[in-house]
């Protein structure tokens, strides 16, 4: 993984000093609350419902065991012994005291971490594929480009006060595991007819109140032009993005208002001025950064192991886990292991200090000391020999980290909701709990198979409900929590927004309604169809009729424009 040199370290150290000074000025009354707000926000520090929340960047989700141990330490020393991994591959601490935040940042800087641009109207942490570097379907490892973007965007003098926040995702694989098309800028590594690898540039995707699947504005961009093209897009956005209404300020609105053709024309015109400037990337620099993302020395004989097959045959619980929580590795005899942070009764994405230390230990022992945060709020150990899987599973089980539910109904994406967030209209975590209690039969869950439930406590859509196979959106009616369901969304290469099922439902009915939807699926599915496939084949009507038997009114599709 990327290692800081003196320059990188100086920047994060100076950031700590700067924020310490800003916080001291605030606490001394020299800065007003209004003046301090944008400064703390640029350091990922929000003031939430009960306490401040600190969001820490995990660039493209990649952590070393040393860094994970530091997160455990921080949760112990400054917080309530747990941390929350977010859908943006970041980590959040929910209870730090404001005056300790400079110390937390100093602790983070000691392990090459920071909270720079984890909030504010700036370029946020670049996200990527959790299986980057080991996936079989990968054309090229996207992480070097994420790191190049991270450096270019860090304290970018021109783009630190954009109309709104700005999120970039990069994927190098055929199967999109990074939700590329619902980002402000999404980049797919692709090959052109001449066999060269470059980027397909998607702009203006996003969720929130006005969801859009982003269009491609340049199907092939040479790598050397990556930064100049990003700069051209950001410049057009910074000049012309709306600033009068924060709900219309994301780049997706600008792209949609101008139309893809006109937006593209403006970007290309801007680009023509800066394309051959100092922004042009040296191949030498690309190679330098690539040099940090090399493969470990894999064991050539790893595939000769037979213990894995035997354990799968003889142990049902292990085989359930192996079926769901392992991901095919490009090297024979290795697997990527998904560590589930979705155990029943636990808020999705939460890990305790003890669990984090435990995972760090296992990463050192079994996976070359690396851990990846997924945008589904789980963790990945990317390089595990199959001969080690059974003992790893046993050790994960000791700390409630081996729930065999990856990709299943209970592997929900969930925002912090009303329990923590100042914006939320309704709870998410209690609904996750309700669903977990209702669907506690592992065989049933495995029978239902792949199902992505995504849940947001308000229309800001941090839980990505629009792109859930089943999306759940918390709304408030007469001061009571209700939930609006959508069906058929996807954040992958076949990205599309879910259709609205019907009127919102009461809090206590959510799990029962999901149960009805699953009954319809089980009755109608053919062969190996997933829930999403059946939905796409049969449409919304049978589902709607089951949930709203008397009021099967025709509803306009929620957001398919």
């Amino acid at each position: 993984m990327y290692k800081y040199d003196n320059y990188d370290q100086t920047i994060v150290d100076e950031r700590v000093a700067q924020f310490r000074d800003q916080t001291e000025r605030f606490l001394a009354g020299k800065l007003t609350e209004d003046e301090y707000r944008p400064l703390r926000l640029m350091n990922g520090l929000y003031v939430q419902r009960y306490a401040p929340m600190l969001r820490v960047a995990i660039p493209y989700g990649l952590l070393s065991s040393e860094q994970l141990r530091m997160l455990a330490h921080i949760s112990r020393k400054y917080d309530k012994n747990y941390a929350h991994f977010s859908t943006r591959q970041n980590v959040q601490f929910n209870w730090p005291a404001l005056e300790t935040v400079p110390d937390i940042l100093a602790d983070l800087a000691s392990v090459e971490m920071h909270a720079i641009q984890t909030s504010g109207n700036d370029i946020r942490n670049t996200t990527s594929d959790q299986f980057a570097g080991i996936a079989e379907d990968e054309l090229e490892d996207p992480r070097p480009y994420c790191e190049i973007i991270r450096q270019w965007s860090t304290f970018h003098p021109e783009f630190s006060f954009l109309p709104r926040k700005f999120k970039i995702a990069v994927s190098g694989a055929t199967h999109d595991r990074a939700a590329v098309k619902v980002h402000d800028i999404g980049l797919y590594l692709v090959k052109n007819d001449a066999g060269e690898v470059g980027f397909n540039v998607i702009v203006g995707g996003g969720l929130g109140r006005t969801p859009f699947i982003g269009p491609s504005i340049r199907p092939f961009l040479e790598k050397q032009h990556l930064l100049s093209y990003l700069e051209a897009i950001l410049r057009v956005y910074n000049r012309f993005g709306r600033r009068d209404n924060m709900y219309r300020a994301r780049i997706k609105i600008l792209v949609n208002d101008l139309g893809k053709e006109e937006f593209t024309r403006q970007v290309e015109e801007e680009w023509s001025h800066i394309k051959d400037s100092v922004l042009k990337l040296d191949q030498k620099e690309i190679n330098r950064v690539k040099g940090f993302f090399t493969s470990p020395e894999y064991d050539k004989n790893a595939a000769e192991d037979s213990s894995f097959d035997e354990a799968e045959k003889s142990n049902k619980a292990f085989s359930n886990w192996a079926k769901r929580n392992l991901f095919t590795h490009r090297v024979a005899g290795y697997k990527a292991v998904v560590v589930s942070l979705k155990a029943p009764g636990i808020a999705p994405g939460d890990a305790t200090d003890e669990q984090m230390d435990h995972i760090a230990e296992l990463a050192d022992q079994y996976s070359y000391g690396e851990i990846v945060v997924t945008h589904d709020q789980n963790l990945v150990l990317p390089n595990v020999k199959q001969a080690d899987l059974f003992s790893l599973w046993e050790k994960l089980s000791e700390k409630n980290l081996a729930t065999a539910n990856i990709g299943l109904l209970t592997d929900m994406i969930c925002c912090p909701g009303l329990d923590f967030c100042a914006l939320a209209n309704a709870g998410s975590i209690p609904i996750a709990k309700q669903i977990n209690e209702k669907f506690d039969d592992i065989d049933y869950l495995h029978d239902i198979g792949d199902l992505k439930i995504k849940m947001s406590g308000c229309m800001n859509a941090c839980g990505h409900h629009h792109v859930g196979h089943i999306g759940i959106l918390g709304v408030r009616k007469k001061d009571e929590e209700f939930y609006q369901l959508t069906l058929g969304g996807s954040a992958e290469e076949d990205a599309c927004l879910g259709d609205r099922l019907g009127p919102s439902i009461a809090k206590e009915e959510v799990a029962d309604v999901i149960s009805k939807l699953l009954d319809v699926y089980v009755e109608l599915r053919q062969d190996e169809e997933r829930f999403l496939d059946t939905y796409r084949r049969v449409g919304i009507t049978p589902f709607k009729d089951r949930v709203y038997p008397k009021t099967a009114v025709k509803e306009k599709a929620y957001a398919n424009n």
Partner: protein
């Protein structure tokens, strides 16, 4: 007005005409005029043998000034609130695209903690807000000794030095 110019505190006699009707007589002395006033009275103003200065906000595009840049010794860039970042792009366009060599002066809500970014975009003069400690503000230029990107201050990105 109290300013920070080339990282030093000083006073100068320029005043900013925040509002000036296009039909008003040409003001006396060193006045930074609204760009709309310049446009309306361009011919008259050009007859005067004095230094010219205008200010723009985010709604005026730098393209609109490009023909007259040689006339201005100062261009004021307005920062009406910390959130409005359009003037950062204005500064870069004026420096990088139009090679404006006169003074770029940040006016409006100029916050100490944003001066580092403004300076990097090519702004070399800062109006000091009332009640703010200018000495204190000077420190912010030293917040970061290393910058990743090339901008108006650094000719090349840091990676070229690695």
């Amino acid at each position: 007005m109290r300013i920070i110019k080339d990282k030093k505190i000083s006073d100068d006699d320029w005043v900013i005409a925040r509002e000036l009707d296009d039909s008003a007589p040409i003001p006396e002395g060193n006045v930074i005029l609204p760009f709309s006033y310049w446009r309306a009275n361009r011919d008259e103003l050009l007859k005067q043998d004095t230094a010219h200065a205008v200010w723009i906000d985010g709604d005026i595009e730098t393209e609109e000034l490009s023909d007259d840049l040689g006339q201005f010794s100062i261009i004021g860039l307005d920062f009406p609130a910390f959130k409005d970042g359009r003037s950062y792009t204005h500064a870069r366009m004026l420096r990088d695209r139009y090679n404006f060599e006169g003074e770029l002066r940040a006016i409006g809500d100029v916050l100490r903690d944003q001066m580092f970014f403004m300076f990097r975009c090519g702004i070399d003069c800062f109006q000091v807000s009332e009640g703010k400690d200018a000495e204190d503000a000077l420190k912010s230029f030293n917040d970061f000794s290393v910058r990743y990107q090339a901008a108006a201050d650094d000719a090349v990105p840091i990676y070229k030095l690695r």
